[in-house]
């Protein structure tokens, strides 16, 4: 399985039909049925694809099974989407028109709207907790928590100095939230506490320092991407200083893994990296890069494993289909690319197409 994950290449059998007419900002695959792909575009369109393949097809173009009617669309582009973790009947989106919306999947209509009064860069809902709080990261320094049950804001987490670009819930502790912003800090919150911010990550691991010191910086430039490992022990952060940092989520220490100078990350939009650690060792991280690639690194020693090239625009988001070696990447060229491990079926060798044969003419012999 590890090996197959390391051998990802452009899928010969699947492709996602072009649905958006603007850059795609975010994709997410549900964790319940593991076959629905949500994609959000800058054309304020949201598409749902069924990526479960029918058997025995040559090249299957995955069609969009649902999309938002024009009258229900948001005013501006959708910045991020997330499935409700326990049911595919609901999903949440954040938009640049200052709102976080909750959608009914069956009717594709908004069920509930939270107005955050500033444009929302991203939102997150805890994948394990039953508290049903959606954290919205917006141009406002406060991180707002929206309660899906009541349809109202519960908290405002104050501490950041600028816009909050990225937000993630811990996959281990249901009350733990991590946010990163343009003030170059990554803050860890415990939403149960009155003084919610428990620490601000420090890239230099300064000894005996106050975990909330105002001099703590996680990157030298704004932070625009965050991801938790599935065991909740590690956090990956992407900064616009083109660095990737791996943090110990428990202690808040920088693990100082050097991922090299490969990443290109200069655009001020939230991007979605991915940690793949279920069933493979060493774990891989997939980082979307501005130079039209997805970079795959070994998470623990930082070596570059593979470059997934093929996209025609800046890659904004990657997601892996749970339980399969299938990776989906969305980019600004309006296309979602499917990456797959090569299949080793015996029938494949038979139907190796004629096109792959060499065709040297005989007159070049001598």
């Amino acid at each position: 399985m590890t090996k197959r994950m390391y051998e990802l290449e452009l899928s010969q059998f699947k492709e996602v039909a072009r649905g958006h007419h603007a850059p795609i900002n975010w994709i997410e695959i549900d964790r319940v049925e593991k076959k629905y792909l949500l994609s959000a575009g800058a054309d304020s369109q949201i598409h749902i694809y069924d990526i479960e393949e029918p058997v025995h097809t040559k090249l299957w173009k995955i069609p969009s099974i649902a999309r938002v009617e024009k009258k229900n669309r948001q005013k501006f582009g959708v910045s991020s989407v997330a499935w409700y973790p326990f049911d595919t009947g609901m999903f949440i989106s954040s938009s640049f028109d200052n709102t976080v919306n909750v959608w009914d999947t069956n009717t594709m209509t908004p069920a509930c709207t939270f107005d955050l009064e500033e444009k929302v860069f991203s939102q997150a809902i805890s994948p394990i907790a039953y508290h049903s709080l959606v954290a919205g990261a917006s141009a406002d320094p406060r991180v707002r928590l929206c309660d899906l049950r009541s349809g109202a804001f519960t908290h405002s987490l104050t501490g950041h100095n600028g816009s909050v670009m990225a937000v993630q819930w811990s996959t281990r502790y249901e009350h733990m939230l991590v946010t990163g912003g343009t003030d170059c800090t990554i803050r860890v919150w415990d939403i149960r506490k009155a003084a919610a911010c428990i620490m601000s990550l420090d890239q230099y691991n300064t000894e005996d320092a106050d975990p909330l010191s105002s001099t703590n910086q996680a990157h030298n430039r704004p932070i625009n991407g965050l991801a938790f490992s599935s065991d909740g022990l590690h956090i990956i952060s992407l900064g616009m200083d083109e660095k990737i940092r791996l943090w110990d989520a428990y202690t808040g220490q920088n693990t100082l893994v050097n991922y090299g100078p490969h990443l290109r990350n200069r655009s001020r939009t939230t991007i979605k990296p991915l940690i793949v650690d279920n069933g493979i060792w060493p774990p891989l991280i997939f980082i979307p890069s501005d130079d039209h690639q997805v970079l795959a690194f070994d998470m623990l020693d930082g070596s570059l494993v593979k470059r997934l090239r093929g996209s025609y625009g800046r890659v904004t988001s990657v997601d892996k289909r749970p339980g399969r070696e299938e990776l989906y990447s969305a980019s600004k060229d309006q296309e979602i690319l499917v990456w797959e491990a090569p299949r080793k079926d015996s029938e494949l060798i038979d139907r190796r197409p004629e096109a792959e044969m060499d065709a040297w003419s005989s007159d070049e012999d001598e």
Partner: protein, 674 residues
């Protein structure tokens, strides 16, 4: 891997893409294919090399590289894989996606894009299923609207390419043929034209007697230019006497204006045949030859011939013919043949228009009036002034000395030689001339021939004096302070020396007519600027031939017609500039020295051409358009001149000087500072 094979492949790919032609070189293509077939390593290498060529900022190179890609793509699976892997970059370089525009020249760039789009389409149809990146790229191109797939198909483009390259070859051949055609025509007709001209010339000679035949006129000239006249004293005297002139102080004016010729040469029964013949020749000349020549010139300028030297030679020959014809036309106009012919047939009008065109094209060159055949007038108008400004070399030192109006000036002493001559004449008049004296006179004459003619002055008086006495009255003068003299009453040596000196005031005279630069311009005409020494665009003004090429100073300098109107100093400048150009043409001094040393040591001297070639590699003929070359504009030319280090230095020096002068003035004006 074999380094040599790698280098070979690199040079092959480099060469094949740098021809700039629309089609690939077949031989080289085959060689590349042969190498690539050997192993996949070579294929990988070739992809790498091709991508380098595709990255060049010159659309023609990219076009050729793309053609190479097409060839290899259809053959090798490995090649296809590698290209597919780099497909986004490939599209970026050939179609120009991601806001990356294609490099100049723009016409080739558009063709490149068209070709690449057609190629992607065919690839997609054939290989789209097996190579996913191809399909994705194709999809991207469609959705982004960066390429129009409804354009021409690959077959169209390929046939267009071959067509275009064939057209190039054909055009070259046509030009060659045209040039040869003109060449033969010129060779055929040249004799005809020259014969015709000769006929006309001989007619003119009969009708209008040559100037040289007039002995009397020669003598009159001699009176003005005394240097020549001495040797023919007797004849001269007789002549003067026969014309009833007693002295040389008369001025003789000979009117040689062209207007007279018309009046004097009239058609009569005697010369009717001559006139008839002239008219006929004139007609042939204007109607047939001149039109032909104009036609040749027009065609020849248009043709881009491979050998410019041959073209220039031919052009020169034609232009010299044209000049001769123009000369003949002018002469016939003088005796009124052209009007007669025109009256005879009005069709000749078109030719005259051509003539006017020529006049507009070519600068009017004044033909020296003295050479003009003129008759009759000379002896009838004795009181005339010789108006020649062309002076014998010695007189150029003091040009004023021979201005005729000076002779009438009472304060003016005529040149020494004239005086001597006059005295000599007096002596001859007196019968008491013995033989010894005559011998001495002969010697004297010999000497006088070479002696310079100088205006009379004080210094000449003292010239041969050894000691000059003064105050010979015997009375003693006492000086108030210096007291008595020593009694020698002689001028001291220094004083005498200083008296022998002459102060000459240089009075520069600007030429009345400044010659044009006449360097060839790009438009085909000659530079009409008139500057004294240097044309700001074409450098020093040097004698040039009819088409503006500098006359080769070694062989043809004597035949250069230096303008009649020019004053000596301008001529000198010209000589200097010619000299400098000669120097530039000759090898540098160190080269000469080196050659000498080599020769002495028994080694063959290095040829200067070889030296140059060593540094500058012979460039292979290529149709590549130089995209880095900036267009030559007025601004760049001015900029170049401003950036000239010499110019900068001059400006700096001037500024420095001004500054220092200002400082000095400031110091001079501050009184209190001390």
């Amino acid at each position: 891997m074999d380094v040599k094979a790698r280098e070979h492949l690199a040079s092959l790919i480099n060469d094949i893409t740098k021809t700039g032609e629309w089609t690939l070189d077949n031989e080289k293509l085959k060689e590349i294919k042969r190498i690539c077939k050997k192993s996949e390593a070579f294929v990988e290498m070739s992809v790498e090399l091709i991508f380098i060529q595709l990255g060049k900022k010159q659309a023609q190179i990219r076009y050729s590289a793309l053609q190479l890609v097409e060839e290899l793509f259809s053959r090798s699976h490995k090649f296809r894989q590698l290209i597919a892997e780099e497909f986004p970059q490939f599209l970026q370089l050939t179609i120009g996606i991601h806001q990356k525009s294609l490099p100049p020249p723009s016409n080739v760039a558009s063709k490149l894009k068209e070709f690449a789009v057609a190629l992607v389409k065919t690839w997609y149809e054939k290989y789209g299923e097996s190579y996913r990146p191809l399909a994705i790229g194709y999809d991207y191109l469609i959705s982004s609207g960066e390429a129009n797939f409804e354009g021409s198909s690959l077959r169209d483009i390929r046939s267009r390419d071959t067509q275009r390259s064939q057209q190039d070859v054909r055009l070259k051949a046509i030009n060659e043929r045209r040039f040869q055609n003109i060449e033969t025509q010129v060779a055929d007709l040249k004799d005809d034209i020259q014969e015709n001209l000769k006929n006309m010339e001989s007619c003119f000679e009969i009708l209008v007697p040559r100037f040289e035949a007039e002995q009397a006129l020669d003598e009159e000239r001699a009176a003005g230019e005394t240097g020549k006249a001495l040797s023919r004293g007797d004849a001269y005297k007789d002549n003067i006497m026969s014309h009833g002139l007693g002295s040389s102080r008369y001025t003789i004016e000979i009117d040689l204006s062209e207007g007279n010729v018309m009046e004097d040469v009239k058609e009569s029964e005697d010369n009717e045949i001559l006139f008839e013949k002239l008219r006929e020749s004139y007609k042939i000349m204007t109607s047939k030859h001149l039109t032909k020549i104009n036609e040749w010139l027009k065609n020849l300028v248009k043709i881009e011939y491979t050998d410019p030297a041959a073209k220039d030679d031919l052009l020169k020959a034609i232009i010299s013919l044209k000049d001769e014809i123009r000369d003949a036309t002018r002469k016939s106009a003088l005796i009124g043949i052209d009007t007669q012919v025109e009256n005879a047939n009005k069709e000749a009008n078109s030719d005259d228009e051509d003539d006017e065109d020529i006049d507009a094209l070519f600068e009017e060159v004044e033909v020296p009036t003295l050479d003009e055949p003129s008759t009759s007038v000379a002896s009838d108008k004795p009181s005339a002034v010789v108006k020649s400004k062309k002076l014998p070399p010695v007189q150029r030192v003091f040009p004023l000395a021979h201005e005729p109006h000076m002779a009438e000036d009472a304060t003016y002493t005529s040149p020494l030689q004239a005086q001597i001559e006059r005295t000599g004449r007096l002596r001859e008049n007196s019968p008491s001339g013995n033989k010894g004296k005559q011998k001495a006179d002969l010697q004297r004459e010999e000497l006088l021939k070479v002696a310079p003619v100088v205006e009379w002055g004080e210094d000449l008086y003292y010239w041969d004096k050894q000691d000059v006495q003064f105050n010979q009255s015997g009375l003693e003068y006492h000086h108030r302070f210096l007291g008595d003299g020593e009694g020698a009453n002689k001028l001291s040596d220094e004083t005498l020396q200083s008296l022998k000196m002459r102060a000459v005031y240089y009075n520069p005279q600007w030429p009345e007519k400044i010659k044009a630069c006449r360097a060839p311009l790009r438009s085909g005409s000659l530079c009409p600027r008139r500057d004294l020494v240097t044309c700001p665009f074409h450098g020093p003004i040097i004698p040039r031939d009819e088409i503006g090429r500098p006359v080769d100073p070694k062989t043809k300098l004597p035949m250069v017609d230096l303008g009649e109107q020019e004053t000596p100093e301008v001529e000198e400048d010209k000589d200097k500039s010619v000299f400098s150009s000669v120097k530039a043409a000759q090898p540098a001094l160190w080269e000469q020295l080196e050659n000498d040393v080599m020769r002495q040591q028994g080694l063959t001297p290095i040829e200067s051409t070889k030296r140059g070639q060593k540094r500058k590699k012979e460039k292979a003929p290529s149709a590549l358009i130089d995209v880095r070359k900036k267009a030559e504009t007025r601004l760049t030319r001015l900029q170049r001149r401003l950036d000239d280090p010499r110019m900068k230095r001059i400006v700096e020096e001037t500024l420095d000087h001004e500054r220092s002068m200002k400082l000095r003035d400031k110091k001079a004006n501050s009184w209190r500072g001390i």
